[in-house]
């Protein structure tokens, strides 16, 4: 069997470098504003944590391979080729200290998409054998078992049986021609089973047809996190195959940030053709139901609450207003964090950080940024729409002895749902 080598890594860098990246590297003015935009820098101010610096090996390959000056410099021995040791050194910068949150991209005064480049750089890190253990494990389980956490179909079936028994709702599997195919994340199956119940209740009540797929229920994509298009393509193809087999109109991405990015943005590019269905985040679907009058609520949350914007949703996905529309239906005392919406700070565990055991320490350091935001507000409840953010937030709160419960937006809406006459339930 072939092995992962430096040569394959450098080749991947060369293959990944495209015109946008060339223009990004040539227009960087080294102003350092991306450093202040990055929570891995602000909470741990090592100059090496400056986002653009995390790309240094990739930048050197670009310079040496694709620029005249760089080629001359390399010929004259003025610049050295990127070594395996360097890539090993960079592993912690590219994986542990970056959640692909995209804040640096937004702040960059010359508009360089640094996040896009780090995602691309990971391709070379994987091909050269410098991906973290945790992400290798998650990717392996995702490919071989169908879930990065190793959750198998019987586990989901057990949850579904329990839900059907306790709620009286029907949770269909493999229903051809349904409007929605509901995808899940293993985190929701194992940590937050109430999510499935909430969606089942809302969709059924809205009179919509929906289904789960027994062939593919996992929407998260470890290939995107580890940065391997080959693995990401394999995983997203399974979702596409299931959706097209069941002939659904819309695939619903779960309360998970990167699953949305994988399905909504990277998916069609990975498989090289448009989908035959729409891909939407659950929050987008709920807001559509609200606008159509199919989602009505009663009563209000009395506690003071705020919303943590998942980066992939708000910054990389543009879903800003929808969660606020929904929250305002059920919350009387909703306050915004100082930096909210597109400028929100990451929870600290996105982009594969949560699956990476090497990042345990930095991820809790990064949480300090969220802690500062929350300390300013004195809220009773924190709401979010991403299971991965939620796990990180809960862990951060526990370590820092903060007593703020974290809730999923979908569950909160389901609790206030008014039963419709036209609904199937």
């Amino acid at each position: 069997m072939s092995t992962l080598t430096l040569e394959r890594g450098i080749n991947a860098f060369k293959a990944q470098i495209d015109a946008p990246m060339a223009s990004f590297f040539s227009s960087c003015v080294s102003c350092g504003m991306c450093a202040e935009a990055c929570l891995f820098y602000t909470e741990n101010p090592d100059p090496r944590h400056t986002p653009i610096y995390k790309l240094e090996p990739l930048r050197r390959v670009w310079e040496q391979e694709y620029t005249l000056i760089g080629k001359l410099k390399a010929k004259l021995g003025l610049s050295k080729p990127v070594t395996d040791a360097e890539l090993a050194e960079w592993q912690e910068l590219v994986y542990n200290n970056c959640s692909l949150c995209g804040r640096c991209t937004l702040i960059c005064p010359v508009g360089n998409d640094i996040t896009y480049m780090i995602r691309r750089m990971r391709e070379g890190m994987v091909a050269s054998g410098h991906a973290p253990e945790g992400l290798i494990g998650a990717s392996t389980r995702a490919v071989n078992i169908g879930s990065p956490m190793g959750v198998k179909l019987p586990a989901l079936q057990a949850q579904v049986r329990h839900l059907e028994k306790s709620s009286g709702l029907e949770v269909p599997f493999d229903k051809e021609g349904a409007e929605y195919l509901l995808m899940l994340s293993s985190m929701e199956i194992m940590n937050y089973p109430e999510y499935l119940g909430a969606v089942a209740k809302i969709l059924t009540n809205a009179g919509k047809t929906w289904t789960l797929s027994s062939e593919c229920f996992e929407a998260t994509n470890s290939g995107i996190q580890i940065g391997s298009s080959d693995i990401a393509r394999e995983l997203v193809s399974r979702v596409v195959a299931a959706a097209e087999k069941l002939k659904v109109k819309t695939v619903i991405s779960p309360e998970c940030g990167h699953a949305y990015t994988a399905l909504r943005w990277e998916g069609p590019n990975l498989i090289g053709r448009p989908y035959t269905f729409a891909a939407k985040h659950i929050v987008e679907v709920l807001d559509e139901l609200r606008a159509e009058g199919l989602l009505q609520t009663e009563g209000f949350e009395e506690s003071k609450l705020t919303f943590h914007d998942p980066c992939q949703l708000v910054r990389r996905g543009g879903v800003v207003e929808q969660p606020r529309n929904l929250l305002n239906m059920v919350a009387k005392n909703f306050v915004e964090m100082a930096d909210h919406g597109t400028l929100n700070w990451c929870c600290g565990a996105g982009g594969g950080v949560s699956a990476n055991e090497d990042a345990e320490e930095v991820k809790l350091k990064a949480f300090q940024r969220k802690k500062k935001q929350l300390d300013e507000l004195h809220v009773d409840t924190l709401v979010t729409a991403c299971a991965n953010c939620r796990i990180q937030l809960e862990e951060g709160m526990e370590v820092n002895q903060m007593d703020i419960p974290v809730l999923g937006l979908t569950e909160m809406i389901a609790e206030h749902l008014v039963e419709r006459k036209g609904g199937a339930a």
Binding site: T3, L4, N11, A12, K14, T67, I136, T140, I231
Partner: protein, 370 residues
């Protein structure tokens, strides 16, 4: 600035100052400062005082074209309410669209009135450059800058072009000069024009030139139309860091030991040697300091085309790049090379993409397991 009623025109400057509570002693001190800044002999001080005291308050019309109001800011901010400010108040500023209280038709009416009443006698002050490409780039009350300048210049005794924009085109004229900006002297050829360049000019130089015009008429000008009294020496010649230059002691970066010891900033791009202005002697902010004293090289703002000098931080001896024909050849060669490199890059990217081997989870585990 209030609009002047006709009666104060009868008052001399001396009378006006006394009515404002300015003592003769402080007035003479001001005259002494003026004399020294204009490099006049001390024996001239009483003459300046006498001439200023007797001067009738002349009508001044101030036109602002393509400018940033920095020249007006410089004058008003740093001097109000000093003696110079009062002298300035004591001229009759009949039109200045930033400072006057009137607006709209009333303002334009004041300008037309002053031009009619003092035809042939008023002083025209201009700041900002004039766009020639399209008159619509800059207009006042629907009148293009070019038309307004020509009309106002016709009846002026003299024109003072304040700031580098009015004197030489300044920032608007910087390459590629999108508005076709030109200076006052590019348009008006039949009137005495005094250039008071600087970005902005030193406040005391503006008032000093006006005072000189009131007392002795037109000052002596250099080849670029600047009063020699203020622009006769280079910054470099009067710079307090000059001794370091002579001894070859240069700051190499803005935070090295040389910079901390106050050595010459020549290598950091100081344009002092080719810049003629009074900064090193009169200084700024009521004589507090000037840029070099604050640790930054001179950018040469009182010289024509200072924006295109080739970089504020490039030392003067470094050539500022190819020009003329060479630039055309260089550009052609560059484009050809660019196309060739682009083709090569495309090829190497395609090769890299085709030699990509699919990454499998088995490989991942093999590598991590080893």
């Amino acid at each position: 600035m209030r609009m002047q009623t006709p009666s104060p025109y009868e008052q001399t400057l001396g009378e006006h100052l006394r009515s404002q509570g300015i003592s003769r002693r402080s007035f003479l001190k001001f005259c002494g400062l003026l004399a020294s800044s204009m490099a006049l002999a001390p024996s001239m001080i009483p003459k300046i005082a006498e001439a200023l005291e007797q001067a009738k308050r002349p009508s001044v019309i101030w036109l602002s074209f393509q400018e940033c109001t920095g020249c007006t800011e410089s004058l008003t901010r740093s001097h109000s309410p000093s003696l110079e400010g009062l002298i300035f108040d004591a001229i009759s500023l009949d039109y200045h669209h930033t400072l006057q209280a009137a607006s709209g038709d009333a303002a334009e009416h004041a300008r037309e009135e002053a031009m009619k009443e003092h035809y042939g006698k008023y002083v025209l002050v201009v700041d900002g450059s004039i766009p020639l490409d399209n008159p619509g780039y800059s207009t006042i009350a629907g009148i293009s800058n070019l038309d307004m300048l020509k009309e106002a210049a016709a009846g002026a005794a003299a024109i003072i072009a304040v700031g580098t924009c009015a004197a030489y085109g300044g920032l608007p004229k910087a390459d590629p000069n999108p508005t076709g900006a030109v200076s006052v002297s590019d348009i008006i050829k039949d009137k005495p024009i005094i250039n008071v360049p600087g970005c902005p000019p030193i406040p005391v130089v503006i008032t000093g030139v006006i005072a000189h015009f009131l007392t002795f008429g037109l000052p002596e000008l250099d080849s670029l139309g600047r009063p020699k009294a203020f622009y006769g020496q280079s910054i470099h010649d009067r710079c307090y860091r000059r001794p370091f230059y002579e001894r070859g002691l240069f700051a190499e970066t803005f935070d090295d030991e040389g910079a901390k010891a106050g050595w010459c900033l020549y290598k950091l791009g100081c344009k002092g040697p080719v810049t003629y202005n009074a900064c090193a002697t009169t200084k700024w902010n009521d004589g507090t300091s000037f840029p070099i004293e604050s640790g930054h090289g001179c950018i040469g703002c009182s010289e024509p085309n200072f924006w295109d000098f080739g970089g504020f931080y490039k030392a003067l001896s470094i050539p500022t790049g190819a020009s003329g024909k060479n630039a055309v050849y260089a550009a052609a060669a560059g484009i050809a090379a660019g196309v060739a490199i682009g083709a090569m890059n495309k090829k190497s990217k395609a090769e890299a993409a085709s030699s990509h081997q699919t990454v499998t989870v088995e490989e991942l585990n093999q590598e991590s397991g080893s």
